[in-house]
């Protein structure tokens, strides 16, 4: 008997009102699905021609490239709850020098101010406090919580899970529930939010741009 996917991911009898929104992106194919995603910046968002390459997000020489759900400021699409949502990302930051990767939830269009909670992966810059670290970061309130991932491993392929809880957020790297790959902070966005993936240069230029591969992204309300 064929079973529905619906019945495998929801409790029996989940009502239409209680059914939670979900997005699953496997970054496979000829090009980024631009019906779903908007790409922002003068870099690029292309599919990699390499095994497990997925999406290759490339920043400009000095700046940022991101993808999210919002084609314009007036057309923001933010279906995820600031107090109950999860983002799972499998990604690899290619370079360690002058590169800053941030993936998570934001309330704003990319050119405007807003609140965010992110997983921040930063390479060596010019002595910035986040150098060579993977952190849980937010600006509501200002939060930077380090994981203990070794600096030598920050540009490896990792599985990241970012969760927005009722009055806090957590970051888990490679399934850690405590200790080395785990961080928690009392921070949340201040309104509904959208997922975004971002790669940028930090305190220096990179010939050819900063780069990150993404092979999976899943986001859902809890």
């Amino acid at each position: 008997m064929t079973k529905s996917i619906y019945d495998q991911i929801t409790a029996s009898g989940t009502s239409g009102t209680d059914f939670k929104q979900r997005m699953v992106e496997t970054f496979s194919g000829d090009a980024l699905d631009t019906d779903r995603w908007s790409s922002h910046g003068s870099g690029s968002a292309t599919m990699a021609d390499s095994v497990d390459g997925g999406l290759l997000l490339t920043s400009p020489t000095n700046g940022a490239q991101s993808i999210d759900f919002s084609p314009s400021d007036s057309g923001k699409i933010r279906p995820f709850s600031q107090t109950g949502a999860v983002m799972i990302v499998t990604s690899k930051m290619v370079q360690a020098q002058y590169t800053n990767q941030s993936n998570g939830f934001r309330t704003n269009y990319y050119t405007e101010a807003g609140k965010y909670v992110i997983m921040a992966i930063q390479g060596q810059t010019n002595g910035n406090s986040g150098d060579n670290k993977i952190q849980l970061k937010s600006n509501n309130p200002s939060t930077s919580v380090d994981t203990s991932i070794a600096s030598s491993a920050i540009h490896d392929l990792h599985n990241y899970k970012l969760e927005l809880l009722s009055s806090s957020s957590t970051l888990s790297v490679d399934g850690a529930l405590s200790s080395t790959g785990f961080a928690t902070g009392s921070c949340n966005p201040d309104t509904r939010c959208q997922p975004y993936l971002n790669i940028a240069t930090a305190e220096g230029t990179i010939s050819g741009g900063a780069k990150a591969n993404y092979t999976y992204c899943e986001v859902y309300n809890t």
């Binding site: 008997m1 939670k20 699905d33 019906d35 995820f80 509904r192």
Partner: protein, 199 residues
């Protein structure tokens, strides 16, 4: 058993996927866009002019067997509709490329009616039948299952509403959504999940 066709859409993102063919059998401007609301999914709007009938389907690619399929959807007559009694939204399976007038099996929420309805048609024959579930603008879980070519089950909010054995489709089917405003713009269908598979 060989793998059978299985379709799923979470309706998450800025707009509907390109596998949806969006047309206006009448009027113009039908669209399928993400909604800026927690758990809002996407909204299919009837159009921007008057007397719009917006239809969103698979452009006549009928990959689901009339004698053995399941369709599950979580959808609503979206509260951003104008609220006029002419507003209506439909979700289900049809064999046509642009409207649901012939072979079809689907759900319907009409502002002119007290209850959520369903309908099957064999050719052009078949009429709307009311459930006992009140019409509103909340999301509802609907399920249709073709147990055979001569028996379809309709369930709404996980309760069996009816087993239909007459006026069933004579052609294979594909999923569709429809928003029709009959000059009272806009009519808006909201949806956050659809799954179809052959059994």
């Amino acid at each position: 058993m060989a793998y059978k066709q299985h379709f799923i859409d979470w309706f998450s993102g800025k707009s509907g996927a390109s596998y949806w063919n969006i047309v206006n059998p009448s009027g113009s401007g039908a669209s399928l866009k993400g909604k800026d609301e927690v758990n809002g999914g996407m909204i299919m709007t009837s159009g921007t002019g008057s007397n719009n009938n917006g239809f969103c389907g698979f452009n006549g690619k009928n990959q689901f067997s009339r004698s053995g399929f399941v369709q599950i959807a979580v959808w609503r007559l979206d509260p951003s509709s104008s609220g006029h009694s002419f507003n209506q939204a439909q979700c289900g399976m049809a064999s046509q490329t642009n409207d649901n007038g012939q072979d079809c099996a689907h759900w319907m929420i009409r502002n002119s009616q007290t209850y959520i309805e369903y309908r099957t048609r064999s050719g052009g024959t078949g009429s709307f039948i009311s459930t006992t579930v009140a019409r509103d603008t909340n999301f509802h879980h609907t399920k249709m299952e073709a147990k055979s070519a001569s028996s379809y089950e309709f369930s709404v909010d996980h309760a069996l509403a009816a087993t239909v054995t007459s006026n069933l489709p004579q052609s294979d089917l594909s999923p569709f959504m429809k928003a029709d405003d009959s000059a009272q713009v806009p009519s808006v269908l909201g949806i956050k999940y659809m799954e179809c598979y052959n059994t």
